[in-house]
Symmetry: C2
Subunit: 228 residues, 2 copies
């Protein structure tokens, strides 16, 4: 990791494969990274332990876990007592937006990232969204990210005063899962630190059958890399 | 209040004069109102009691207080150990953005409102922002609100599926404080239920000297109405 940084960046970090690769990329590019995770009532809360491990391993300048309770207003298989779909094929996944969708989640996450970016005077925000393997999630699309960036640059005191122009970086947005795995390896990311499953058992072990587990497995297989 | 409603609306409600008037207006116009307040570590937490009183008095369909901890990432006189400015003139207030500004607060609040609107399938969101008396707050300006609305309509599953087009209503945005007071009285709002002070004492009594107290006092004076 570089000793000299080019500036501060707020990096959204779930502890999964994509956000961890995104953080590794921001570190490789020389940013001092302020990692931000959310305890939002997700059933796969074990991902927060993965986020802490990854933030430390990659040398994040700081790691904050913001507590927000989306269960009060949300409705999703990730936060409520809905069954997480299992064993779906790539074709199944390409039809419609799954019940694991959390309403306005990326908008809420990016809003907190924007607040922290303003306090830190960090012009760069990294988010590991991917429009290819999760084409169903509306808040992973390039047009959404562009609209958020436009709004963000009208939203802050630092912006109005000309001290901060925010840029939302989405370096993984057009990569396949296999390409993300290859990129992670190039960057030296220790995949065993990450957690992807939506529905782990009580010990935190992945179910192997949810969309997230299946996409991860296919990504590693296509990349020809072992997932320990 | 009307017996027949024209639809559901999410109404941001701090418990202050502006958001309470905004809720009264949405009720008068026939919306079933889902009031949303935030426990964000504000020193004037007593405003949440006012919000609960106002939501009940105005017949909100539901009132949720979302817990989010902005102290972890924020920096503001409203959440941190910074002094709240006292005794400022209207001219003082017109210079720059005060330390009571909370980074990206309205973006965070509107993001939660958007999530709840999606779950409720409520196309209307009301926020009592005012660009006149708080010209310093960037996230109270019309151009910011328009940008948020554009982003919001790219952000949700319900939007992508064509079930929901969100509109952000800002009925107070161009009113003076005196006009808001007059409107509140027209709507039958009981002002004594509301709370405006940024820096109340331990018993919840207003300080009378912060910007919010002074703007409220001047508004009532100009409107020629007594503030009990």
């Amino acid at each position: 990791m570089p000793l000299e940084t080019i500036g501060k960046a707020v990096c959204l970090l779930s502890g999964g494969l994509d956000s961890s690769t995104c953080l590794a990329l921001a570190r490789r590019d020389g940013y001092a990274c302020y990692a931000l995770s959310f305890d939002y009532g997700q059933r796969h809360r074990v991902e927060l332990e993965a986020a802490a491990r990854v933030a430390q391993a990659l040398g994040a300048a700081r790691h904050v876990v913001a507590r927000i309770d989306l269960r009060q207003i949300g409705h999703s298989a990730l936060t409520d007592d809905l069954a997480v779909p299992k064993g779906r094929s790539a074709q199944d996944m390409s039809h419609g937006i799954p019940v694991t969708y959390v309403p306005a989640r990326n908008t809420i996450f990016l809003s907190f990232a924007l607040a922290w970016a303003e306090v830190l005077e960090a012009p760069d925000i990294f988010i590991g969204v991917n429009a290819l393997d999760y084409s169903g999630y509306p808040d992973c699309r390039p047009e959404y990210i562009e609209a958020f960036e436009s709004m963000a640059n009208l939203a802050t005191k630092a912006g109005v005063e000309g001290r901060l122009r925010v840029r939302i970086h989405t370096p993984l947005i057009r990569l396949s899962k296999a390409e993300i795995v290859k990129l992670g390896r190039e960057l030296g990311l220790d995949f065993s630190l990450t957690h992807s499953c939506y529905d782990p058992d009580a010990a935190g072990r992945p179910c192997g059958q949810c969309d997230s587990c299946l996409l991860r497995r296919r990504g590693f297989e296509e990349a020809g890399i072992a997932d320990r």
